[in-house]
């Protein structure tokens, strides 16, 4: 049977390793195997110590993002035949600290996500008994795209601004904040814009655009950031020209 070599980054802090090393594993090359199937083959048949995250293997849980031949990819949706003859280089997502092998630390993102208040903010909560907040399909379309983020972190791995300065809020968190700003049911856009306009917010983005290229769900975080910049600029102008306007 055909084989393909997976060149996998291994980092084992328990074993006093200070640098990741690349280790080659030969796995079967089958037409419908994704990179993840190759990793599972290694784990089950060759080396039980290999560590990585995965779960749904249908591109929706966002667990299995890794660098495949230098590109951020969901390994469940990247097929070995498309990478043949190999070897295929598999490394942990760029721009994040590595905990072990292919596992990176996401704590930073989790803090940033909650800092932009990604929940519906209303001045007056309507009781559930009064029924739904009306929203037309067109109003839904305004933000739908930005609600598709699966938090897979490929955009952070693709963003050189985040790589150079880890304090940047980053593409996914801004896209999700913007998703609520655009939601016709939400009234929290001024609160969020105040947060996004701070240093490390939207203005850190210099429109590289790689986040949108890397996104496996077509979210276009780069677009969201530019839209948020425009909204933040408008808001700043308004408070400059109309200082008496209540905040």
């Amino acid at each position: 049977m055909d084989q393909i070599t997976l060149r996998v980054a291994r980092y084992r802090p328990d074993d006093e390793e200070t640098e990741p090393v690349l280790v080659d594993y030969d796995v079967p090359l089958r037409p419908d195997w994704a990179v993840l199937d190759g990793l599972n083959y290694i784990k089950d048949e060759l080396d039980g110590t290999l560590s990585y995250r995965w779960s749904c293997r249908m591109g929706i849980c966002g667990s299995c993002g890794m660098m495949v031949d230098g590109e951020p990819k969901l390994t469940c949706a990247t097929f070995l035949v498309d990478l043949a003859p190999g070897p295929v280089r598999i490394e942990p997502l760029a721009n994040f600290p590595v905990i072990r092998d292919l596992i990176v630390d996401l704590t930073d993102f989790m803090h940033k996500l909650s800092s932009v208040k990604p929940w519906l903010i209303r001045q007056d909560e309507q009781p559930v008994e009064d029924g739904e907040y009306l929203q037309t399909p067109a109003q839904l379309d305004e933000f739908k795209q930005f609600s598709m983020c699966i938090n897979c972190m490929l955009c952070y791995a693709a963003c050189p601004v985040y790589g150079l300065d880890g304090s940047f809020v980053g593409p996914a968190a801004i896209a999700l904040a913007h998703r609520y700003d655009l939601d016709s049911r939400d009234e929290g856009d001024r609160q969020r814009l105040t947060i996004l306009a701070q240093p490390d917010g939207v203005w850190d983005c210099t429109f590289v655009g790689e986040c949108s290229t890397a996104c496996p769900k077509g979210v276009d975080p780069a677009g969201a950031i530019q839209q948020a910049k425009l909204a933040a600029a408008q808001e700043a102008m308004k408070s400059l020209l109309l200082p008496w306007r209540s905040r």
Partner: protein, 579 residues
Amino acid sequence: MSLSHDVVIVGAGGAGLRAAIAVAEAEPRLSVALVSKVYPMRSHTVSAEGGAAGAISADDSLEEHAYDTISGGDWLCDQDAVENFVAEAPRELLRLEHWGCPWSREPDGHVAVRAFGGMKKKRTWFAADKTGFHLLHTLFQTSLKYSNITRYDEWYVSRLLVDDGRVCGVVALELMSGLIETITGRSVVIATGGGGRVFPFTTNAAIKTGDGMALAYRAGAPLKDMEFVQYHPTGLPFTGILITEAARAEGGWLLNKDGYRYLQDYDLGKPEPGPVLRSMELGPRDRLSQAFVHEMAKGRTINSPYGPVVHLDLRHLGERTIDAKLPMVRELCRDYERIDPVHELVPVRPVVHYMMGGIHTDRNGVTPLAGLFAAGETACVSINGANRLGSNSLPECLVFGARAGRAAALYAVEAPPPALAVEAQGDDERRRLDEDLLRRSDGPDRISSIRTEMQAILEDAAGIYRDGDSLTKATDKLRELKERAATAAVDDASRRFNTERVAGLELAGMLELAECILHSALRREESRGAHQRTDFPERDDKRFLAHSLAYRESGGSPRVSHLPVTITRWPPGKRVYGR
């Protein structure tokens, strides 16, 4: 170190998050620990596609939703629980709307509903075909605003702390560091989902190893109706990726190798060009999966490299409908099968999808163990009976997640703090896990090979059709496998993010669940819903209008007893579809 909270919730998917928010809203003074072996947004709720049922249409009623659910469950549902469920489902779905869930809409701005299998009216709320994804992310993002919820992301719970018959916390392994800590609480809610991974071919994610069921079972709580395992009729071969029932609700057809809509041969109605509710492709999942087996026996399925398949035909729906209503179906077919359903037939076969059974609870998520609550797929209330209807599981997570959360909050307010003695149990568990970690074994078995054998045993004996002989043989094989598992070789003795260690703990739990499934199936000498015995082909209400309860004996094997079903308004009748 010991961590202490008022309510400890294990599992952070749909039910766990809903429970956490319910506690936070009911008793803001209580501190909540939300413990999960994955980040909340990785939970398997994310994979649910088609929708969530809640009667809101003018022509719909709670009675009809209840009747569809009860007849769909072949009268094994507890009807008092179903009545609570259908009454609260619309409220819960509206609450989610108020939290920002992007439900698909009618042109006038009201929430839209679609048809679904086994439902007589259109009552399934949907967010295109990524309903579970939107539901989970809405819950997760909303949960971020409550400061009294403390998350323990990527902590694996290995044991419940039980003091004098009362559950008062957990022992958990922090994956990142490999440290083992006790997290005490006045009450504990288990919401860890099902365990479809005991089977080889499943729509279930890798994380769905039934951990919570095993935790409760070992602590002394019974597992209910474990023999009822749902096969979804349309999974993609090899990956087992689910093609949502919504594909059929929008008008998709199931065809055999002759291009014939074979369901008409199985008392499911006459073929019409458009979808007809409770008929043909919109029959319940158990009946459709059973029809597949008969087609296969007749040699009318299509052979694929991954076994026999039938075809799902969506071509006549057209590109516009598919893109508007089923974008994920197209995406999945394109990315994972390399076919375009707009122009091509989709190969599908039945695939293990859902466990109707789980931890025995009442309508408030209360288990027989004091201080322990459960909700979601891991629990069995039971509203799903012998066969769950599509789009009932998401609202089940919400309704019973909230109920369990409120009940656990109330309990925590009144209960005394956990006894200090439980710390000793934490030390015991730490010792046990460390011995297990450092145990060096060169046995011929590996965790993965034992897992594969277990899955094969289950599929052979406890698949769509079962019989006494093979179930008996399977229980023997499984007992032997359990012994071998104890000496399986382990490669990894390190502490940080040791995923092999977790796989070993998961496997031990799955072997217990597998035993419960086999023993419960063996004891139920009738055919009902998803449990079909070729040696007992009829439903037997005299003996088995009852739930199975599997208790763990001191030797480790299950003892099965039965508990009558609660009937309120709908006496057992015949399940009729397509007429």
